[in-house]
């Protein structure tokens, strides 16, 4: 059933791609791999990729999902791109704080603030 639904939906806003997660859980290995692949192809399409991950629908994630996000961050950096995370619910934000990944990622409270934070 859920296998046929793409793991993310992408909205283009000028040169920024806004990514929304379609599942409220980023847990399953297969789902995480699927999301990772989709994000990698978005990154590889452009020279200076600008990616905004909107977490507003996400209620659960695992360390495997964090690993995938770190991988994505490294890939964006390699291409001199910019990655922003936004709309992370409090419980999920605590996971980022505990793992100190708030130091690695640029996390902004809202989508608007994240959009405004991209540089040319």
């Amino acid at each position: 059933m859920s296998e046929s639904i793409p793991p993310v939906s992408v909205i283009q806003n000028k040169d920024i791609r806004i990514v929304e997660f379609t599942n409220n859980k980023i847990l399953d290995e297969a789902n995480i791999a699927d999301i990772g692949q989709t994000l990698i192809s978005l990154i590889d399409e452009r020279d200076y990729p600008k990616l905004l991950l909107d977490f507003s629908s996400v209620d659960h994630l695992s360390s495997a999902a964090l690993g995938m996000l770190i991988n994505i961050n490294n890939r964006v950096k390699k291409k001199n791109g910019q990655l922003r995370l936004a709309n992370i619910k409090q419980q999920i934000l605590e996971v980022f704080l505990l793992t100190k990944l708030n130091k690695l990622f640029r996390i902004l409270p809202s989508r608007d603030e994240a959009l405004a934070s991209f540089t040319q």
């Binding site: 847990l27 399953d28 360390s63 690993g67 961050n73 490294n74 996971v95 690695l104």
Partner: protein, 172 residues
């Protein structure tokens, strides 16, 4: 390696999650301890995780505690299946859980080589922050009330106290 005797007969011992209940009497209290053995398979794991969380919800744990148990259980199961048993279908994962309104106690044991907790590098250290793994144990220990390792690291026992049950909601 202990898989020399593994064959299809060994796989037959795996039954759907729930059949290994120590209390076969379904009329027994929902809070009785349960033991389950599953194959090293994410689908089987998902099923047992759901059973445990259903019980946690029924025992009146709060949202924060449910989130914590869900996360820690996910990490423990992935550790057992992927890192412990290395996805070997001939190896099993043994789960024991005892959920009461006071606390949830969950033990997960794999049949892998075990590990030494003290040798796991700190994933929050600057030199490790960009590495993709090593956060599962950190999250389990942060979110559960206690986490103990046994059987050379093949077994993890986690307890989460239900701190919110001391203040029950009053309903009319």
């Amino acid at each position: 390696m202990s898989i020399s005797g593994a064959n299809n007969d060994d796989r037959r011992k795996h039954r759907p999650a729930g059949e290994h209940r120590s209390s076969s009497d379904s009329a027994r209290s929902d809070s009785s301890p349960v033991r389950v053995t599953i194959p090293s398979d994410f689908g089987a794991s998902r099923e047992i995780q759901k059973q445990i969380i259903d019980r946690v919800v029924r025992c009146g744990f709060g949202d924060q505690a449910i989130f914590a148990i869900k996360l820690a259980l996910e990490e423990a199961m992935i550790n057992a299946i992927k890192h412990g048993n290395k996805l070997d279908p001939a190896k099993s994962v043994h789960i024991a859980y005892h959920v009461t309104p006071q606390q949830a106690e969950i033990t997960v044991e794999d049949e892998g080589g075990g590990f030494d907790r003290h040798c796991v590098p700190d994933p929050t250290a600057d030199e490790n922050i960009e590495k993709c793994s090593g956060r599962g144990i950190l999250l389990m220990e942060a979110y559960m009330t206690s986490v103990e390792y046994g059987a050379n690291g093949r077994r993890v026992k986690m307890i989460k106290k239900n701190e919110e049950q001391a203040t029950p909601h009053l309903s009319s």
